[in-house]
């Protein structure tokens, strides 16, 4: 299932004093099974773009095809689209409202009109996938949980719809390093085990570098770069010019090069730079 975006434009509050052109002529195709990292400065249009992917926002002009369904078409079944494309908002724990964890996760499948048994299965399944223990937690109130747990309940609420494409807007915002690592590894698991297409919006270059297979950089409402992480992160100067940065591994590689060490171009992952440093250290020992 692919998502095709053609000449997408979106204008907020057209005609008012605060009119803003949030998206300008965006053309993109997201293929089945991809892991896309979407990065950009605040106000670059990332969040606006992702809200178009499941029909929450209607294009001002242009069109979006999800699995062949045109989202701008009024006759398209929105619920079918939202079942296929799951969207996890920024700080998704703010949307929790039910009395218990189980009921909250069941909200989505219930709206899809599924049977009791299927709903129960999906709730258990979703909780397992976000590493929440069903037996101890399903009857707890969502407001008693820790921040990291609440976020995982919220993600489970979207996963219970069993979407083929999962869009996450800043899934790690405001979490401590451990919570962050947990969320990232569960996203990684969804992609590798279930084959879910992932679109992850992030401010963190390191998160994107460690997970994404394709990186899209947005700037001022348009697509600024689109390619493999190795390519995108090798253009550090351009990224810095639009207020972004490169992953720490790339920064470290550059610093090592500046000091005269031989570091190959295109290194962007922590593991890669680790191997390089070990190589250098190994040589040093031999010389001594």
């Amino acid at each position: 299932m692919s998502i095709v975006i053609e000449k997408l434009n979106y204008v907020y509050m057209a005609g008012g004093p605060y009119e803003t052109h949030a998206l300008r002529d965006v053309n993109l195709t997201i293929e089945d099974g991809e892991f896309v990292g979407l990065i950009g400065h605040t106000g670059s249009g990332k969040s606006t773009l992702v809200q178009h992917l499941n029909g929450l926002l209607m294009p001002t002009s242009g069109r979006i095809l999800v699995d062949g369904m045109d989202l701008a078409d009024k006759d398209t079944d929105r619920r079918a689209v939202r079942q296929r494309v799951g969207l996890v908002f920024q700080y998704p724990e703010n949307q929790l409202f039910e009395e218990t964890v189980e009921k909250d996760i069941a909200f989505g499948p219930k709206n899809l009109g599924l049977g009791e048994e299927e709903i129960a299965r999906r709730v258990r399944d979703a909780m397992r996938r976000v590493a929440l223990d069903y037996d101890t937690l399903h009857e707890r109130s969502v407001f008693e949980l820790s921040g990291g747990q609440m976020r995982r309940v919220a993600i489970a609420g979207v996963l219970a719809m069993e979407p083929q494409v999962l869009v996450l807007d800043e899934p790690c915002a405001g979490l401590d390093p451990r919570g962050r690592e947990e969320i990232l590894s569960l996203i990684r698991g969804l992609h590798s085990e279930c084959g879910t297409t992932i679109v992850m919006v992030s401010h963190s270059m390191d998160d994107v570098a460690s997970l994404a297979e394709r990186v899209i950089v947005m700037n001022k409402g348009g697509v600024f770069m689109d390619g493999a992480p190795r390519e995108v992160f090798s253009r550090g100067e351009e990224l810095r010019a639009i207020g972004l940065d490169v992953p720490q591994a790339v920064q470290l590689a550059q610093k090592l090069r500046d000091r005269g060490f031989d570091v190959p171009q295109g290194v962007y992952r922590i593991e890669e730079i680790k191997a390089v440093i070990e190589g250098i250290a190994g040589k040093g020992e031999k010389h001594a």
Partner: protein
């Protein structure tokens, strides 16, 4: 979808109307309201329209924008109109269908009261469109200050209003976000009967209240951390001062009232 509300939205600018003292604008708005109530016949609204048009031209706001602000009130307007149309007794029958009787007097009344509502809303919108919320509550606080002698909490009330106004856009944004998040989970806010729709609001209202209380808590702490302790001995960054502009505004409004009274005497 919630951004279409013009009522109570500040339209930044630097026109003479924007620069007027908020106290004077508040007083003149009240005078204008009294003036609109004094209009006793349909031609009187032509005078109100002329005055309003003049003020809006000076303020630099497009008249269209102001008219758009009436849109959210269309149901109240239609309601007023229909109520007057069907239930006012009159003599000259225009249309009679079974028990429904529409008279000339009723039609005039319906138009009259609908117009009154339109002029009230448009006039007061000029105040909120040209005055930033901070200046508005500043003005209110100063106007209410004499009442403090009778232990009226003028400062506290103004502070509450400032905070409430400050949080309206924030809460609207929050509502929009939660609504979208629930829609992403297949929630439907648009269809179904009244009970189904009311029920559909629960997933929206619970998170909204939770976040509003959390915000209130955070704000209270932030204010205490900056040693806020009410209005006593509090000085202000910007002192309010009447200028020549306020005098012009006063004269223009006085002229408006005079013309309204004269017109009422001549035609009423």
């Amino acid at each position: 979808m919630l951004n279409d509300i013009t009522l109570g939205q500040y339209f930044p600018g630097n026109s003479p109307i924007h620069r007027m003292d908020p106290r004077m604008k508040l007083i003149l708005t009240i005078v204008y309201i009294v003036g609109v109530f004094m209009v006793s016949n349909l031609p009187g609204y032509a005078i109100a329209l002329a005055f309003l048009y003049l003020v809006v031209r000076v303020s630099g706001i497009s008249f269209k924008y102001l008219v758009k602000g009436i849109k959210p009130l269309r149901f109240i307007l239609i309601f007023t109109f229909v109520l007057n149309l069907f239930f006012v007794e009159g003599e000259t029958v225009l249309l009679s269908l079974g028990f429904v009787r529409i008279t000339k007097e009723a039609l005039e009344n319906a138009v009259f009261f609908a117009l009154r509502l339109v002029f009230l809303v448009m006039g007061t919108s000029v105040l909120t469109l040209t005055t930033s919320p901070i200046r508005l509550t500043d003005g209110l606080e100063r106007l209410m200050k004499p009442l403090q002698r009778f232990h009226f909490p003028a400062h506290e009330l103004a502070m509450m209003m400032t905070i409430a106004l400050r949080f309206i856009p924030t809460l609207l944004e929050e509502t929009d976000k939660i609504k979208k998040a629930q829609m992403a989970r297949g929630a439907d806010f648009e269809s179904g009967n009244l009970i189904a729709r009311a029920k559909a609001m629960i997933p929206l209202l619970v998170p909204l209240f939770v976040s509003a209380f959390r915000r209130a808590n955070d704000l209270a702490m932030a204010m205490e951390a900056r040693c806020y302790r009410g209005g006593d001995h509090r000085t202000r960054l910007r002192e309010l001062k009447y200028t020549r502009l306020d005098l012009y505004g006063l004269l223009a409004t006085a002229a408006f009232i005079a013309v309204i009274i004269a017109e009422g005497k001549l035609l009423g």
